[in-house]
């Protein structure tokens, strides 16, 4: 005779709603950090020390999600789901996004250099092309490595993690019809 009722069943509704709220909190924190980042840029100008906290929050939370989703095998499942529904595979999207990001940053730095430091039209043009070309050489490979090679590495690790969980099947059937 127990005084308290014991049940193996958790209230899924409460758990799911709590998880939904946590996900919303993550988005809220990211938005607040991004707004703080932009506001500080306009008030104090460019300086890594000014926005270090915001950057750490954004990078660490993103990295943690990536780490956990890789460890639990969700990353490869997400990619498979995306690729089965989308016309463009995730890898191709990452490639184009990396190229666009590299070109975009090179253009921003080029324009910034031409506007801030050059005197006269000729110098502006030469500063623009020089800065843009150097930025492109640095940032294009950087983003391609992060987005394309990084994607491949993470997907392989995620595949390995989920296959390890699925391999627990004694019959060894992880994607066979029989």
């Amino acid at each position: 005779m127990g005084l308290y009722k014991t049940s193996k069943v958790e209230d899924e509704r409460i758990t799911n709603i709590k998880n939904k709220i946590y996900a919303e909190i993550y988005i809220l924190v990211s938005v607040i950090c991004s707004i703080s980042f932009v506001v500080k840029y306009f008030i104090y100008g460019i300086g890594i020390e000014v926005v270090a906290t915001e950057l750490i929050i954004l990078i660490l939370s993103g990295s943690y999600y990536l780490y956990r989703s890789t460890k639990l095998g969700i990353y490869s499942a997400e990619v498979e789901m995306h690729d089965s529904k989308s016309k463009w595979p995730q890898k191709k999207k990452n490639l184009y996004f990396g190229v666009a990001l590299g070109i975009g940053i090179a253009l921003v730095f080029g324009i910034n250099s031409a506007v801030q430091y050059a005197e006269g039209v000729r110098q502006s043009i030469s500063y623009f092309f020089l800065t843009a070309a150097v930025s492109l050489m640095i940032y294009l490979p950087f983003f391609l490595i992060i987005l394309v090679v990084g994607h491949d590495v993470i997907k392989k690790r995620s595949d390995k993690a989920i296959n390890k969980i699925l391999d627990d099947d004694e019959s060894g059937d992880d994607d066979e019809k029989y």
């Binding site: 193996k8 069943v9 490869s76 499942a77 969980i165 699925l166 627990d168 019809k177």
Partner: protein, 75 residues
């Protein structure tokens, strides 16, 4: 049917048999249901408890009832 009995701690052999009956691989069933291959694999292994909606989607795809695929007698 009580939700308690949908909680699977053991392998779901019934689901696997129904899938094989329809000559479907995990990936093919997953595509028809609209989930990932890994999710179907984990349900068959009893390592993931699907929601009622997902159970229904699987049942509709395989032409089975909830009882036929997911019912377990209370301990």
């Amino acid at each position: 049917m009580m939700m308690t009995n949908l909680v699977m701690m053991m392998k779901n052999i019934k689901l696997k048999l129904a899938r094989v009956e329809h000559d479907l691989s995990q990936a093919e069933l997953a595509e028809r249901v609209g989930v990932s291959r890994q999710t179907i694999g984990l349900i068959e292994l009893g390592k993931y408890n699907p929601t009622l909606n997902l159970c229904l989607a699987i049942c509709h795809t395989l032409g089975k009832t909830l009882d036929e695929l997911f019912w377990e007698e209370p301990e």
